[in-house]
């Protein structure tokens, strides 16, 4: 590796964890911070779902939920799960951990920038958490923070909480901008010799594309956030119609970022799923280049769909036609990506290990989220569904697979690499089935309440005769019980995680018999990652290559003496393969 970065400079003792510039340590810091924030985000949803199921009753561990605390809880839940769980776990933790290992270098291109990125992120998490305890409590204007509600304490009753929320979000963006610089630079400049563009594993591609997408989309929102901060603190009127401002301007800035943000977290999740599927189905990914191209296409189109969040927000109704069209266009690359993933399974030898179950569940559940999005992207039906629980259910069927299902797939798949031990398969499967079944039981009922017109962010339905009906309330109670079950099953995961750290079977360098470079390093990899820097000889997914003894052919393994074509399988160079079916070995 080209930059001067020596293991000898690493601080010792506890400081090792605080000041480490090792990409793996920073990845763990992001991972564990993200998991801790997920506990807070999980607690908030527990409280407000209990209020919805049993309105007015004191919730155990919290007490009675007032209208203002309900708003603060839903706002915090949304903000935390997207900005402080999905982003740090999917992009920062997996990006930091995997990129140097998978492209075959010893660390990120800018290790100190990397450390700064985490420190800023950590500060933002602390700031957000602290906002629960200031006078007035945490901000309650929804994670979208639409002005004028978010600008004035007179309107939102949480002037301090609102400003802290905004500063925390802005700091979080800074952290990920710094992180993104590293991901892109490292992937472009620090790849192992021989690794060409289309030899890069898909998950790395996805994280890099997501980072570019994030960088390109977040600028307007940061500018918007500064204007909002000025409106809150020094009394400017950017969003105040009484002084020539326009509240809808914020919506444009927010969703210009907000919709690409969906793909910022979706793409790394799809990447993780691709890696897991290839390894556990022993299959080369179907149409590797198509996956990369569709990811790029999705990213580009995602800049042209933002106003579908604003069909009924007071924009010119003729604009909706344009954004309906672009929104349905984006379904094409995303659908193609899903088709490619499904096609990858064809001809595989699928082991239903825990990570593979998560990866397959991602496809199964994400399809729900994908198809229900059509109802909302089509302007005519969005009039009815906008801001109902149908929307809530829809985006949880995208975000839960993204943040949690793919996250669990990644953690269970790379746990042996991260900690050198295997996780318990039986506990893993109990956790899997418990989580998946209860997840569906939470959100399928909410599609129905949404279809019945149940609108969002209502803490008590008793004032709405058309919504305060027994069958709707029973569905709400069912969703709440399913949520309690899902939270309970996470205990199994944490137990398994903690137990396997010390008690799991020793993994060895390559327990899954995988092909990518990270499995060449020891488990866990030492500082500097590889004893000898690897050289890459072929594409990342050479499974089931005919006429070889093993069913996998690692990227780092020099071509055998049997006269194999040395660049076998590098995308576009592969042998005409469909005829070359592997004969069963006997």
């Amino acid at each position: 590796m080209s930059h001067e970065h020596a293991a000898a400079h690493e601080p010792s003792g506890l400081l090792k964890y605080v000041w480490s510039t090792d990409h793996k340590m920073i990845a763990f810091q992001y991972l564990f911070t993200g998991m801790a924030m997920a506990l807070i985000g999980g607690f908030t949803v527990y409280v407000f779902r209990m209020q919805l199921a049993f309105p007015g009753e004191a919730v155990p561990l919290f007490g009675r939920v007032s209208a203002s605390s309900y708003n603060a809880l839903v706002t915090s839940h949304g903000s935390i799960m997207i900005f402080w769980v999905a982003m740090p776990v999917l992009i920062a933790a997996f990006g930091n951990y995997l990129i140097p290992l998978m492209v075959g270098c010893d660390d990120m291109a800018f290790p100190k920038v990397n450390r700064l990125s985490f420190q800023i992120f950590f500060l933002s998490a602390v700031l957000l958490t602290a906002s629960f305890f200031v006078p007035g409590g945490a901000f309650g204007g929804a994670w979208t923070a639409y002005p004028p509600l978010s600008t004035s304490g007179v309107y939102n009753q949480t002037p301090i909480g609102a400003t802290m929320w905004l500063v925390a979000v802005a700091l979080e963006f800074v952290a990920f901008l710094l992180g993104g610089i590293n991901f892109i630079t490292t992937t472009m400049n620090s790849r192992a010799p021989g690794m060409r563009m289309f030899d890069i594993p898909i998950v790395v591609w996805m994280i890099v594309i997501a980072s570019v997408l994030f960088m390109a989309s977040v600028g307007p929102l940061v500018a918007g956030a500064v204007m909002l901060l000025f409106d809150q603190v020094i009394g400017t009127g950017f969003y105040d119609p009484a002084r020539g401002g326009d509240p809808v301007l914020w919506q444009h800035l927010f969703w210009f970022f907000g919709h690409p943000e969906v793909y910022v977290v979706l793409l790394p999740a799809m990447g993780i799923v691709a890696e897991v599927m290839a390894v556990h189905a022993r299959k080369r990914l179907f149409a590797y280049r198509t996956i990369v191209y569709t990811a790029v296409a999705t990213s580009i189109i995602s800049f042209f769909v933002w106003a579908h969040h604003q069909f009924v927000a007071g924009i010119d109704p003729r604009m909706a036609s344009l954004f309906s069209v672009t929104t349905l266009i984006i379904s094409i690359p995303v659908a193609e990506m899903v088709f490619v993933y499904i096609a990858t399974l064809y001809g595989g030898a699928i082991s239903l290990t825990t990570p593979m179950l998560w990866a397959l569940a991602f496809l199964v559940e994400f399809l729900w989220g994908g198809v229900t999005g059509i109802f909302l992207g089509a302007a005519g039906s969005d009039i009815y569904f906008h801001d109902t629980y149908f929307v809530t259910a829809h985006f949880h069927y995208t975000f839960f697979p993204i943040a949690f299902i793919a996250g669990f797939a990644g953690i269970t798949h790379w746990f042996p690499k991260m900690f050198g031990r295997m996780m318990d398969e039986r506990l893993g499967k109990i956790h899997f089935w418990g989580t998946i079944i209860s997840f569906n039981l939470i959100f399928l009922p909410l599609f129905i309440t949404g279809a019945a017109g149940d609108h969002r962010r209502i803490f008590d339905y008793s004032g709405f005769p058309d919504l305060n009906l027994p069958y709707l309330q029973n569905l709400r109670i069912m969703a709440t019980y399913a949520l309690l079950a899902m939270i309970a099953f996470q205990v199994v995961f944490f137990y398994n995680f903690a137990r396997s750290l010390r008690g799991g079977a020793v993994a060895g360098a390559n327990p899954w018999k995988a092909t990518t470079l990270e499995w060449l390093a020891a488990s866990p990899p030492p500082h500097g990652n590889f004893p000898v820097m690897p050289t890459v000889y072929r594409g990342p997914y050479e499974y089931g290559v005919p006429d070889r003894a093993d069913d996998f052919w690692p990227q780092y393994e020099p071509a055998g003496p049997a006269g194999q074509e040395p660049r076998l399988g590098a995308a576009g160079h592969g042998p005409a393969p469909s005829g070359a079916m592997a004969a069963p070995e006997r």
Binding site: A67, Y70, G141, Y146, P148, L149, N156, A242, P247, V248, R282, R284, F286, A287, T290, G314, S321, S324, V325, L328, I332, E336, F339, I342, A343, L345, Y346, G347, G348, A349, I350, S351, L360, L367, W368, V371, I374, F375, A378, A379, G380, S381, I383, Y384, D387, G453, H455, R456, D460, G463, L467, D551, A571, G572, P577, S578, M581, A582, P584, R586
Partner: protein, 238 residues
């Protein structure tokens, strides 16, 4: 399908429902097909002793068509959905039918004020009827609504009409509806508007022509009286 849950109480409610049903059929079929293929592949290609995976790259045309044909089909169905969706959208939001009457809808934290034209059928005259949280309209009459907000964003949502429109402070946003079904229905605020967002329910009362005339007679304040009382008496009328 939505009418199983919520009655169709306006002229365009059935159109919105048909659109939703059309989308449901199309994406439902795709969804079932995709899930079926997915589960079939998972079951069919489970790891078996001694059977190696096939080496399929997906980079040649004969294989790619398994993905590209469905992909073209998605495109075709997208066009169908867009055309249907925009027809409904234009009907509800873009067309501007000649109204028989105008009502003003004013939202604020956390209440709705409705200004009815009163017996003379015109707004901003002395016989206007102002009510809080109750909107009275006549069946089969085309209404134009003028939507205002006094403070933050709100959203005027009448699920039974399949109508929803955000209110933006500093703007007047106009729209229309024509109620077809007599009865009382929820008006919801569908945009978070502060800590009382869940506590600003209102009702729309769609009345038959005779019942509406009766209501007008009862609540239409004579101009002279209105001047004396500041039309205050309407505040508590329910």
């Amino acid at each position: 399908m939505i009418s199983w849950f919520v009655p169709q109480a306006s002229t365009f409610a059935a159109d919105v429902d048909s659109l939703i049903f059309l989308i449901l059929v199309i994406v439902g079929a795709w969804f079932l097909l995709a899930e079926a293929v997915l589960f079939w592949l998972i079951l069919r290609f489970r790891k078996r002793e001694g059977v190696r995976s096939k080496y399929v790259t997906g980079d040649v045309k004969s294989e790619k068509r398994w993905v590209s044909y469905p992909h073209y089909a998605v495109l075709v169905f997208d066009v169908v959905i867009v055309v249907a969706a925009l027809r409904v959208w234009n009907d509800v939001k873009v067309t501007d039918p000649v109204p028989e009457e105008t009502v003003r809808v004013v939202s604020q934290q956390w209440a709705w004020t409705f200004v009815h034209a009163g017996p003379d059928g015109r707004l901003d005259t002395a016989d206007d009827i102002k009510t809080v949280d109750d909107l009275y309209v006549q069946q089969n009459r085309t209404y134009r609504f003028e939507l205002h907000s006094k403070d933050v964003l709100h959203s005027f949502s009448v699920p039974a009409f399949r109508l929803k429109q955000d209110a933006v402070p500093g703007r007047m946003i106009a729209g229309w509806f024509k109620p077809t079904l007599a009865g009382d229905f929820d008006i919801q605020c569908a945009e978070i508007c502060g800590i009382g967002h869940g506590l600003m329910p209102a009702r729309i009362h769609v009345q038959t022509a005779t019942a509406h005339q009766e209501w007008l007679r009862e609540h239409g304040v004579m101009p002279a009286l209105a001047a004396n009382t500041g039309a205050a008496g309407q505040g508590g009328a329910r």
